[in-house]
Amino acid sequence: MRLPDSVTGSFLVALGAAAAYGGWILPPVPGQPVGPNVFPLVIGSGLALCGVAIVFGIGHSFEEEEELIPLEDGQAAAPPPQGRLESKLYGLRALLPPALLLFYVLAADRLGFIITAAIMVYVTSTALGAKWKLALPLAALSPFAIHLIFGKLLRVPLPAGLLPTPW
């Protein structure tokens, strides 16, 4: 997901301009010279300016040091998947966690917490390389444990759905 600075910078320019415009068109508050429109205007302009600077590579020289810091050892030595297409698909795996969270939002009310959570755990675990012998028991047990802590102890109203818990 390393994008060129020109792409991220241009995006920031667009976002900043949109924010400034959005602030501009907000209705003024009668009798109050400085209203809710000033702050987005300032922020938006600032963001757009930063975007321009990033597109032109200003401040890039400060970034060299960052490469030296291994947050997790071996991160640099990511497995090299064969072929260009495959490596692209490999990069898409990163989107799995947010996709699963959205799945939870859509499905939890209908399927219930236990079933939705079990699917989430199984998919995440398998994607990280677990065999079904590990992933299946984990998916079967962990939703109950989480439900016990949050649903029972902390009284979070988790949706029951198709499979209500025994407690």
Partner: protein, 503 residues
């Protein structure tokens, strides 16, 4: 004074607080020791649980978990050369070199011992610095608050180990996120796009969980699993620590002081403190050639430093609501939720609660020694847990925790969205901490800014007229111009050397 102290003791000597503190300590130790799970993430995932605790117990869990996690990140750093938290990254190589020399006990023992001392030094700084600063802060008007908030945001961008332009952009992004909702000077829906879910604005806590937890699971999807920890027998862990303390007492003190200063600076946290202290230790050492070959001196200084920054990070948080680091940013959210709104009056009106916080920090750091020793001995078993079992549980906690904050599915959407934002930002060199600070401080900055502008009738001059405001303004503007000066200096210097060479 004595009565307040006794009140504070009464506040923390309930079963709820004791159990919460112990459980949070164990939790912090485990999460901190697992590579890829940071102390900030441990704290962020705790927040939903704190909703259901009394105010003091809630703060106790955060204090205990964050202190423990920072130490416990040293364990895989020393044994595997993989830092458990970014705060241990500075000296993981050094500690691993010691392990290979057969000095794992000394390295880990130094981790526990100097972390505990550093933590206590941090609390002392909190106790000494906060009350007099509160006296000064009582006379602050919105002008001072505006400059102070701006200074805080600028510090966060200065200390980021990345391009300052990208850090400032990250800060603006955070401020922009805080614009969403109807909580603004006009009370009109702003950037809500007609969605009722956005009327209340973006809650900082789900955003933090997304940026620190979901983004980490996303990264784990693309990185290989760390190697398992070889099982080993440990000798006495605390042996020789007293000797080290006497030998390196000056380094330890310097580490504590640097950690305290970096902790107080907004946005700069334990990882920054460890990097600076390690570098400083090497720079001023009598035997710098030993660094990198398994020399304990740097470990002493950096270990003393990163834990000191944890407690001192609470100074600006409690006084002004300006977080000293990302963990303190989460703590501020919890303080507001529990009716302990940050501000100078906290020290006069809720003095016993403040003393309770000091006491909990001290207790947590003392508890760290026995619990840390146990943790070092069982770490080999905990690190056996493969990532494919830990990460799915983290995902579930993200989903349930963000739902629990408002009993609202929109929280889960926020977490997912900020997971993607955090992942993309990190991958492209935009510091996430700057954005987090922007989100947390946005409303405060805007309020101070707009109120000041209304008071001054649109004029800029009153922003500089009060003496304290003028000083803060000078510092904030200096912080803004600093990267420009460094950049200019770097441009001039090669030209000079080139000119000298051609002569």
């Amino acid at each position: 004074m004595l009565k307040t102290l006794l009140d504070a003791f009464a506040l923390i000597s309930t079963w709820e607080v004791i159990i919460a503190m112990f459980a949070a300590s164990v939790y912090g130790l485990v999460i901190g020791s697992l590579p890829g799970l940071s102390a900030t993430m441990a704290t962020a995932l705790l927040v939903p649980v704190t909703f259901y605790l009394s105010p003091i117990a809630a703060i106790a869990t955060i204090v205990a978990a964050s202190s423990m996690a920072i130490f416990s990140g040293d364990i895989p750093g020393a044994l595997l050369r993989i830092p458990g938290t970014p705060a241990s990254a500075a000296y993981a190589d050094e500690a691993y070199a010691m392990t290979r020399k057969g000095q794992a006990e000394l390295a880990l023992g130094a981790g526990v011992w100097f972390s505990a001392i550093g933590g206590i030094a941090g609390v002392l700084s909190l106790m000494i610095l906060a009350p007099p600063l509160a006296e000064i802060a009582l006379s602050f008007s919105t002008y001072e608050y505006f400059w102070l908030a701006l200074l805080g945001l600028m510090c966060a961008t200065l200390v980021a180990r990345s391009s300052p332009v990208k850090a400032i952009a990250g800060m603006f992004l955070g401020l922009l996120v805080s614009c969403i909702g109807i909580e603004n000077p006009g009370g009109v829906p702003r950037f809500t796009f007609g969605l009722t879910d956005l009327f209340g604005g973006i809650e900082p806590i789900p955003a933090l969980v997304g940026v620190f937890a979901v983004a980490q699971v996303m990264r784990a999807m693309l990185t290989p699993e760390p190697p398992p920890l070889p099982r080993r027998k440990f000798g006495s862990i605390m042996a020789g620590q007293w000797k080290l303390t006497k030998q390196y007492h000056w380094q330890m003190t310097r580490g504590n002081i640097v950690g305290i200063i970096i902790g107080v600076l907004p946005g700069a946290g334990a990882d920054m403190a460890a990097w600076v202290s390690y570098a400083m230790s090497k720079r001023f050492s009598k035997e710098p050639e030993k660094f990198g070959t398994g020399h304990v001196e740097g470990l002493v200084e950096a270990g003393a430093s990163n834990n000191a920054s944890i407690a001192s990070g609470w100074v600006p948080s409690l006084l002004f609501g300006i977080p000293g680091d990302t963990i303190a940013a989460i703590a501020i959210g919890v303080l507001y939720m529990k009716g302990l709104n940050p501000g100078p009056t906290l020290f006069t009106e809720k003095a016993s609660s403040m003393y309770a916080i000091y006491l909990m920090f001290i207790i947590a750091n003392i508890m760290m020694i026995p619990l840390g020793i146990v943790m070092i001995r069982v770490a080999a078993y905990i690190l056996l847990a493969p990532r494919s079992t830990v990460m799915p549980i983290i995902m579930l906690c993200c989903a349930v925790g963000s739902f629990a904050i408002g009993n609202n599915m929109f929280g889960v959407v926020t977490v997912a969205a900020f997971g993607v934002i955090g992942y993309v930002m990190e991958a492209n060199g935009y510091p996430v901490a700057a954005m987090v600070l922007g989100i947390v401080m946005g409303t405060m900055v805007e309020q101070a800014f707009v109120t000041s502008l209304i008071k001054s009738d649109g004029s800029i001059l009153p922003f500089f007229e009060r003496p304290v405001a003028a000083i803060l303004a000078a510092m904030a503007i200096g912080a803004l111009l600093w990267p420009v000066m460094v950049w200019a200096w770097r441009k001039v210097k090669p030209a000079q050397t080139a000119a000298a060479a051609s002569r």
